[in-house]
Symmetry: C2
Subunit: 372 residues, 2 copies
């Protein structure tokens, strides 16, 4: 993203005119996008036309790297399958991974509520240390602030990760073409529905667990297959200078957290100007997620995930990438869930096995606040 | 800092046994140090014996760099001379600077309170953009979360900065020797007392302003003089391989924020095992700070600063470094405020012009909460 300069004769256009901040502005859907694109981006990042990514790629002394940051305010702190500490590590690890970077270093800050039991804090520090060790990222520094009792709901955690770039990965939604395949790493909606049930807001029994984990091994698996095979019509990941006229084999990746798969794919559709067509019966959804969504009138495609990712690859790589995912621990349930088409341009269309279709938009509003 | 490995046979020693978190654990003084050294460091950073620094130095693909992170929870959001947005940029810029790194990139997260007026948020985003432009650091990415009304006191901001290392700077308190000089960049206590007065908690009139600013130009000035002069008995900053038997010319730097000059210098005294002797009448203090401290029974040496720094240099560099500071805009009031001696080992001694002396400890408790 470019930076403002003093000579900029076109002051950035502020398009965000809502009078105040609402919960939906933090939900990762349409309202979040209006806030980020209409207020943060023009003022902080200049009038860049670059798509907004989960991680930025920057250079220090000529070395390129990925950097990403996230604050975590999930409620409750601990839930089946995970906790705020694990999310804070894995969420940042995964943002690096889907930007094509190997997670290397992390710094962390805590905003703690006065009166917080030390045992509660210790549990979360240990959860972070374990998650970082599993994900192969080093925690190298941090900061702690304490606010008055009644503020900050026990704790908020912010993590920032830095990673080295995987060779040959050049992700850009503007390189996506009609015919490209859409891969999904596993079942959707587990995290969001687990949090909802952990709050006791729904009278519904389930053994669902959050899917929080590092997805880097899965990303690395498809990056490896992209560099070792040379699909006709696409460049391999490594040695891409051999055929600069061809496209990279992996074109786009995203971890569909807040706003779910539907929001991530709507952003892709908008950024590439093409249509995303999903085959509903190929999308893995646990029964518990499906049942809770039916009760709530929500679509699993709008529910947050923490340990899944989407990838768009050239058609020639689709089968090899799928096999690479399925042969990596944790990728057994990966599927090809759809493809890119010319139409409906800028939108996401879901087709069902009965021949029906529907357009699915980004998440609107915030049905499940404080999910991460 | 080293990382735990699975083979570590000596599990880290947790020495923090206080039952709950109090405001003082976020105040940057003794309680903060107990929490960080007794709980965070052993669990997150392994059983490292490295001194804990404001910024960590790490490598990506062989390139070394500095990284630092801080959360900002200052109350009120806006105060004479600055605001939370400016602090969030300058605080991180300054942590990079005193680690010997040139600020290059920054990422930022916001935790916003639902109901926050957009105009209030816009003011702070603009303050950040202006501060970043002034400091020469690029904001390249971020994240936003929203929490319920009544939480997060309008907003908390977390920034993480990455910087390239200034050539030849090798800071290590363990290199400090008796006879080294202690430099201070300017008047102390302005920030802390400004915040206190802005809250209306003290019936006291003053035209004090926060000293928030980037100190990188001042750090760069002494780094330049350290590399261009070759004091006998010390290595220059650049080309230090010429005399590896000699010490670097700049040995230690720190921005004395929470806990003030006294806390930073007590940490130095502990880390180098020597005595720090200050000459009180050389320490610049504005009348407003002195007056407020007398009313409150506080010592200006314990009050937070945001735009000042301390440096320890070899005696041969002291005058040249002082002149370099005084000839850089914003460094006019820099002073040599004391020196390192063998005694009192591990402590800070203040001498007055009347011949009196007193030992000054780290900040204990939290007389001024939520200062940054």
């Amino acid at each position: 993203m470019s930076n403002n300069t003093k000579l900029d004769l076109h002051p950035p256009a502020i398009k965000f005119h809502e009078p105040q901040i609402e919960m939906a502005h933090g939900a990762g859907g349409k309202a979040s996008r209006r806030l980020v694109e209409g207020l943060f981006a023009p003022l902080l990042f200049g009038s860049s036309r670059e798509p907004l990514n989960d991680a930025a790629h920057v250079s220090i002394d000529g070395t390129r790297m990925g950097i990403t940051t996230d604050s975590f305010v999930v409620k409750p702190l601990v839930f089946p399958g995970g906790s705020i500490g694990e999310l804070a590590v894995n969420g940042t690890v995964n943002d690096l991974a889907v930007s094509g970077a190997r997670p290397e270093f992390m710094v962390v800050t805590f905003v703690l509520e006065a009166g917080l039991p030390t045992a509660t804090l210790k549990d979360q520090i240990e959860a972070m240390a374990n998650a970082a060790q599993k994900a192969g990222i080093k925690i190298v520094g941090g900061d702690t602030k304490v606010v008055e009792h009644g503020q900050a709901d026990s704790m908020y955690i912010t993590t920032t990760g830095v990673g080295s770039l995987l060779p040959g990965i050049e992700l850009d939604p503007r390189s996506v073409r009609s015919g490209d395949a859409i891969l999904l790493s596993g079942p959707i909606g587990d995290h969001g529905i687990t949090i909802l049930l952990a709050r006791g807001e729904l009278d519904f029994e389930s053994d669902l667990r959050s899917d929080t984990r590092s997805i880097f091994p899965l990303v690395e698996a498809i990056a490896r297959v992209a560099s070792s095979t040379v699909p006709s019509g696409a460049r391999p990941g490594i040695g891409s200078d051999l055929r600069p006229d061809l496209r990279p084999a992996i074109l786009w990746m995203r971890d569909p957290t807040r706003g779910g798969v539907a929001t991530s794919l709507n952003e892709l559709a908008r950024d590439c100007g093409l249509g995303i067509v999903l085959h509903e019966d190929t999308i893995p959804v646990h029964d518990g997620v499906r049942g809770a969504c039916e009760l709530l009138g929500l679509d699993p495609l709008h529910i947050a995930n923490e340990g899944q990712f989407l990838a768009v690859v050239v058609p020639e790589l689709a089968d090899a990438a799928l096999h690479a995912l399925q042969n990596t621990p944790g990728g057994e349930h990966a599927r090809i869930i759809g493809e890119v088409r010319e139409e409906p341009a800028g939108a996401v269309l879901v087709t069902t096995s009965y021949g029906g279709t529907r357009i699915i938009d980004m998440l609107v509003g915030d049905p499940l606040p404080r999910i991460c």
